[in-house]
């Protein structure tokens, strides 16, 4: 592999790690005492330093080294996290992003800009180090507990003196410093849920331990195993208590677990450790003191007397062993403190890290090719089923249905490979919200939910721009400045919500704010000015709100740097429509605006429902179909009978052959005996069709350029027989029906506009 290739990999990886750094820095801004976030930033700087050096980018390595130094001092408590520090670090982050990109794209050109910025930032970093900073006082945040895996034998440290001062009300001959009798090590392993999936099998660990020494006793714990319904077969719920005999240095034993530390909590007690150390470990083990204590007694790690005496020891609360710093700060995982992290943000940072490690990078083209092939397979399979139905091969039928099932599974898992979490896209807005709200003097919090919702990768890329426009719009026009908000009786800080979830085969993405809401009068005025609507037109509130996505409409009087020129939101509409998605707006004056984007899960293959009208075949997405009913024979089928009484409900009917003006031979009577009831949102409609063929996997083929502006049809697919079936755009049909309704059902040609 050439150096250039290596550097590309470095650039790709650094993109992810830098994103983590940014997330963590933004999080630190809110809660400066979150050590986990500091650790994340430190780790990123450290990793970059190392990998930049490997790929020969020495300047970057030196720069990150300086960052690392500072972060190290933050970790050890010499430096405090404050706004200055975060600003400098964010600036360093931005600089690194540009720098790395430059070094990879144009490695041979020198850029003086970059060099000046580098020097400038170096100076700022240096001044941080030199600036006299108060040592953190003991009180804020809670005493930092860096739990070290190996409990060192008593040394004249703060800890042991603290212990001595506690009067031990224990049995006469025991106190916390009494070394226990057991001549072996006690190793407590609690594997993380993702251990197995990452190829860490507890068995292998035990095997390795038995090679290095002697496993005297082993007790397997399944205490972490949830009820059967919640138990994920791929998760690891195993804990091990091991009495272990090995004749090496404590640091060597500690090192034996380096490889698994990312997937396992490791606690090691050397032989003859003080009794207090055992009980401090016991307190931190999730299963409870009594449960594990009893196991230790069984394993002869504690004698009955030691157990009895230790149970009564009053140990100082938590501050376990305070060690200034981890010896191997790099590879070792973040120190685990028992108290849950103050905010769950840091866990998401960890999640991202865990996910990165599980990922395998595959060329997107290869995946697309695979999906194409699967699409062909689906079509070929449909064609075989068709042949089978025509001939009479009962035995063949069985194997074909097995094959169909397999093809369906392959289809699903292939498509799932393209699915990515939308959270990464959402998180990018953290920075934007942070920067923009500061520029505008607003106090805005970004609340993200549903980050784990999965979406087709190609979709994620295309939805990024629309989301950015919506977020900008909400910050700029939606949310008011703190004083205006307070005047309206709202909390001074505004909330911007990004939410995503799956809903009946669609992905719903919501961008909501608690700002002033849309000014409908103003929108109407502008729309009339621009000639988008006629002055005499009456519109529902919903329709008015949707006008904000028309080109040239801006709800803001002032054109700002960010938005307000009336461009932008029409891009949103265009992009979403291009993805076969829909937009809805819900706005309430003084309470805020919520924009809801519904997108199909994937663009490639859908589960469809196949039927025909005369000789033409049509497919509707299966999740749009509510039910199928027979057309009542006593009702005349014509345009006048626009409604059907379906179990007491009025069901509007759409006559597809009339709508699409299908050529029907006058001599033969078109028989339309069935109704397919479809739903969009809370509206339903009945499509009048000839015969039903049922479920069908439709490989969506885009229509050519010529048919781009065709309404009511969203694509085409190829049937097993080789015929083409059109895929109906149910939302468009229902909306079309509604508009027909409002214009007195005046017949209008719909397809060819």
């Amino acid at each position: 592999m050439s150096m250039q290739q290596l550097r590309k990999i470095f650039a790709m990886e650094s993109e992810d790690t830098l994103q983590q750094m940014e997330d963590a820095l933004l999080h630190l801004e809110k809660s400066a005492d979150d050590r986990e976030a500091v650790n994340v930033v430190f780790r990123v700087a450290h990793t970059l330093k190392g990998s930049a050096a490997i790929v020969g980018l020495d300047a970057i390595s030196a720069f990150t080294h300086l960052m690392e130094n500072i972060l190290d001092r933050v970790r050890s408590g010499d430096l405090l996290v404050n706004a200055d520090l975060i600003q400098v670090m964010l600036a360093c982050h931005d600089h690194l992003v540009m720098w790395i990109e430059h070094d990879i794209e144009q490695p041979d050109t020198e850029q003086t800009d970059l060099q000046t910025t580098t020097q400038d930032l170096k100076n700022r970093l240096q001044s941080l180090i030199n600036a006299p900073q108060p040592k953190p006082v003991e009180s804020p945040p809670a005493p930092v507990v860096v739990e070290k895996a190996v409990e060192k034998p008593p040394e004249p440290t703060v800890e042991s003196t603290a212990l001595v001062t506690i009067p031990p009300p224990a049995a006469p001959n025991f106190n916390a410093d009494t070394p226990v009798f057991a001549p072996h090590w006690q190793v407590s392993l609690r594997f993380h849920e993702d251990a197995l999936r990452n190829g860490i099998d507890p068995l292998a660990v035990v095997h390795y331990l038995s090679e290095q020494g002697q496993v005297l006793q082993l007790h397997t714990l399944f205490d972490a195993m949830p009820p059967a319904a919640d138990m994920n077969p791929e998760h690891c719920y195993i804990g091990l208590e091991i009495a272990y005999q090995v004749d090496v240095d404590p640091s060597v034993v500690e090192g034996m677990f380096d490889l698994v530390r990312d997937y396992c909590e490791v606690r090691i007690l050397p032989p003859h450790s003080p009794l207090g150390a055992y009980f401090r470990v016991l307190r931190r083990l999730p299963e409870g003191i009594d449960r594990i204590g009893q196991i230790w007694v069984d394993q002869h790690t504690l004698t009955d007397e030691e157990w009895a005496a230790g149970s009564q020891l009053a140990l100082p609360d938590e501050p376990a062993v305070i060690l200034p710093q981890e010896s191997k700060s790099t590879a070792a995982p973040p120190p685990k403190t028992e108290a849950p992290s103050p905010l769950n943000k840091s866990t998401t940072v960890k999640d991202v890290k865990a996910r990165l490690q599980k990922n395998l990078q595959v060329d997107a083209d290869k995946l697309d090719q695979l999906i194409n092939l699967v699409g062909e397979l689906v079509i070929a399979n449909a064609s075989i089923s068709l042949l089978m139905q025509k001939g009479k091969f009962d035995r063949l039928g069985e194997s074909i249905s097995t094959m169909s099932r397999l093809v369906e599974e392959i289809r699903n898992s292939t498509l799932r490979m393209r699915m990515v979490h939308i959270g990464n896209t959402f998180n990018r807005f953290q920075r934007m919200v942070h920067d923009l709200s500061r520029d505008l003097g607003k106090d805005i919090e970004l609340v993200i939910s549903g980050a784990e919702t999965e979406l087709d990768k190609s979709m994620v890329e295309k939805i990024n721009d629309p989301l950015m426009h919506l977020v900008r719009n909400a910050i700029d026009h939606g949310i008011e400045t703190p004083d205006i908000r307070e005047a309206h009786g709202k909390p001074p800080h505004g909330t911007l919500q990004l939410n995503a979830y799956h809903d009946s085969g669609m992905v719903v993405i919501e961008v909501g704010d608690d700002g002033k809401g849309l000014d409908r009068q103003k929108i109407l005025r502008k729309a009339t000015q621009k000639g988008i609507i006629r002055p005499d037109q009456t519109l529902t509130e919903q329709e008015v709100d949707l006008l904000m996505f028309e080109a040239g409409i801006s709800t803001s009087e002032a054109v700002t740097e960010l938005s307000g020129r009336g461009v932008g939101l029409d891009v949103v509409k265009r992009n979403v429509n291009a993805l076969n998605g829909t937009i809805d707006v819900y706005s309430q004056e003084n309470e805020g605006t919520q924009v809801r984007i519904c997108l199909p899960l994937t663009l490639a293959i859908i589960d469809g429902f196949l039927f025909n009208v005369g000789k033409s075949s049509f497919v509707v997405p299966l999740d749009r179909v509510v039910e199928c009913v027979e057309f009542p024979p006593d009702i005349v089928q014509n345009q006048e009978n626009n409604y059907l009484n379906l179990r007491g409900r009025m069901l509007p009917l759409i006559y597809l052959h009339q709508l699409f003006q299908l050529c029907i031979d006058d001599t033969e009577q078109l028989e339309c005996n069935n109704i397919v009831v479809v739903r969009y949102g809370d509206r339903e409609a009945g499509l009048v069709v000839s015969s039903l063929f049922g479920e069908f996997q439709a490989v969506i083929k885009p229509l050519g350029k010529l048919f781009e502006r065709l309404h009511g049809i969203s694509g085409a697919t190829i049937l097993g027989s080789g015929d083409v079936a059109l895929i109906l755009d149910v939302p468009a049909l229902i909306r079309h029906y509604a508009s027909l309704d409002s214009t007195n059902r005046s017949a209008r040609r719909y397809v060819a506009q």
Partner: protein
């Protein structure tokens, strides 16, 4: 490749687990075992044709055992293959999983 044969008799179910029981098949094994103890008062799981097993497999066996206990059903693991026995020995779970542990498999192990 794991393969499971399920033979359902009156109130009695015999499950024959064959091949490699590992992470990839843990979900399938979980479903089969939990189904069986839900639907039958008496379930016997034969382990003689298992040629490979990992911790994911052990977890499922343990889970099924616990569920059976809770549902007051009778779940027995029998005819352990030496591979399984070795694994259970490492995990020190022999006592919990051997109902009755046949002698011949011990000799083979």
């Amino acid at each position: 490749m794991m393969h499971i044969d399920v033979e359902e008799l009156n109130n009695f179910c015999v499950i024959d687990v064959k091949g490699g029981v590992n992470l990839s098949y843990a979900a399938e094994l979980k479903d089969v075992l939990l189904d069986a103890i839900t639907n039958h008062p008496d379930v016997e799981v034969r382990l003689q044709d298992i040629n490979e097993m990992d911790s994911a497999g052990v977890q499922i066996l343990w889970l099924a055992k616990r569920e059976a206990l809770q549902l007051q059903k009778n779940l027995r693991y029998v005819d352990h293959n030496p591979v399984v026995i070795e694994l259970l020995q490492i995990y020190n779970l022999i006592e919990e999983f051997a109902d009755p542990l046949p002698d011949h498999s011990r000799e083979e192990g």
